[in-house]
Amino acid sequence: MLLNIIKRSFANQKKAMLLMIASVAVGTAMAASLITISLEISGKVSKELRSFGANILIEPRLEGLADISGQKRYLRQEDIVKSKTIFWRHNILGISPFLDTESEISVSGVKETVRLVGAWYEKGLPLPGEAKEFPAGIKTVSPWWYIEGQWPDQADKVVAGTSLAARLGIKKGDSLMIDGKGFVVSGILETGGNEDNELYMDLGHLQEFKNLSGRVSRVYVSALTTPMDKFAYKDPKTMSRPEYEKWYCTGYVTSIAKQLEEVFYGSRTKPIWQVAETEGKVLERLRLLIYFLCGIALAASALGVSTTMIMSLLRRIDEIGLMKATGADSSKIITIFVSEGFVIGTIGGLLGYALAIAAAQYIGMKVFNSAVEHKALLLPVAIGSALVISIAGTILPIRRALRIKPAVVLKGAG
């Protein structure tokens, strides 16, 4: 009987029904695609955020390799490709080695001791047994470095930091002496950091020049990480075995750093906290924003259902009064409206689900340039949203219906 009432009453108010179903569908689609996107965001936005710079620094440990003079310590260049063997290797998005040296330069009679750093700008490292090269170099960790001119590709080329160049009056194309050898300035480097006071040249050539073959001073790594949570801040030394395993196998910046330390001989790694924490905060806020938008979408569509249902209720006052006179108590009236809401919710929810698949796909493509991965979650989220909308949307109409007085409705004209 209930089914009959609902079926017939729907057929009787097609416009209102379609309006309510559309309300639910749009709200559901909004909420479901937003939630899916928010799940994608951790992955995709952190990838985008990685362009803000390296988040792990690898340095030589004190008891690391000694150089010939016995004072400085270095890392081995050959260990760089090993970062592609760790558990979280796929999360290593960029890696850039640096070799720091001190040199004396002289330009038009002025002599000065400056830092001469060797690095790669953009270099593909061959990986054993893999066709694809591992992209390394400054561009993979600090893409914002600006070079006016060219990165030095020959043994006698350097780039000069912009502050240094200004101080010494060096321009692109000028010549200068470094440790008594003649070099040509192939470009001016501007980073906004210490690099602006330094000289840069190709890592391999500097190693040769300084007789430090195979040595690097520090390595910056840009890794995709899981935002640090409470568990992540626990000291791994105090963890139980299973805890340690969980920690090790979660992509926290600390556990990835630990794994890198294991493959770089004589190394010590540390997260660059400022970067890691900023990322966490940005993600947190983005997610908050999305939940907020989600809430608004749900509320707006519940409001749509609610107003439409009240409008149609106003036309059904006689009917409800009559039902009450015929013996319907509140529970029966509630049952009728809740069932109507349920049917609207189900149809609207399914439509919204279809819309959400399209929307999530579209947003994923537009915003992140890739398809969404969490499609499986869409259905439960869509159903949940639709239910929330239709339940919230029917509360007011039901309260209104319960207040209808049959006597007023049914009093005969005579």
Partner: protein, 222 residues
């Protein structure tokens, strides 16, 4: 003890005194007609007896239950057990067909039973109109659906507010004969409001109302 006892009922609306102190007792199985000019308070009294409206003061007892003290939901449950209504405008759900309208009353009472609902329509002579919508039925047929609906849960009190108000003489007669037959078979109590002298002769007792009071109470002289 009388089946229906109305005691000192006053009903005041903001703009009108609908009932100015009405007392009335109706015996079980009695057929009582209520007449009087328009605005004299007939519908108000009938609605108060049926629990659709509540008195400003005074009490109403039906079958030993003080209905003025029931909550709205308890009243709805009391109503579906004991009372059937017929109104002037036929008041059927427009999008349900005849048998579904009857079944709705069953549904609110307990469980709908299509066979029983069809039998009820057969008893009011509508076997051939079972699947017609209200808009496809004549005024007389609609009122007969209302009778079937009012009686489907075997009420002990039938309240009818100008049930023949929109019918011609022939349809009025058909309807009253039907009611008389059902009344003699099922022994429910009838309170029927009318201002048609032809109709008021069909019962056993007539009360006349004027300006919110009962001014005359007499048996029907056949």
């Amino acid at each position: 003890m009388s089946f229906v006892i109305v005691r000192d009922v006053i009903k005041e609306y903001e703009t009108a005194h609908a009932l100015r102190g009405v007392s009335l007792e109706v015996e079980k199985r009695q057929w009582l007609n209520m007449v009087g000019p328009s605005g004299s308070g007939k519908s108000t009294l009938l609605n108060i007896i049926g629990g659709l409206d509540s008195p400003s003061s005074g009490s109403v007892t039906i079958d030993s239950t003080g209905i003025d003290r029931l909550s709205e939901d308890d009243m709805a449950r009391f109503r579906r057990e004991k009372i059937g209504f017929i109104f002037q405008q036929s008041h059927l759900i427009p999008y349900l067909n005849a048998v579904e309208n009857v079944m709705l009353a069953q549904y609110f009472h307990s469980m709908s039973d299509e066979k029983e609902a069809m039998e009820a329509l057969a008893r009011v002579g509508l076997s051939h109109r079972i699947y017609h919508r209200p808009s496809q039925l004549s005024g007389g047929e609609q009122q007969r659906v209302c009778i079937a609906r009012a009686l489907i849960n075997s009420p002990s009190l039938l309240l009818a507010d100008e049930p023949t108000g929109n019918l011609d003489r022939e349809n009025t007669r058909v309807m009253l004969e039907l009611l008389r037959k059902l009344h003699s078979e099922e022994h429910f109590t009838i309170i029927l409001v009318t201002h048609d002298p032809f109709v008021s002769k069909w019962g056993q007792r007539i009360i006349t109302m004027e300006d919110g009071r009962i001014i005359q109470d007499e048996p029907v002289h056949v």
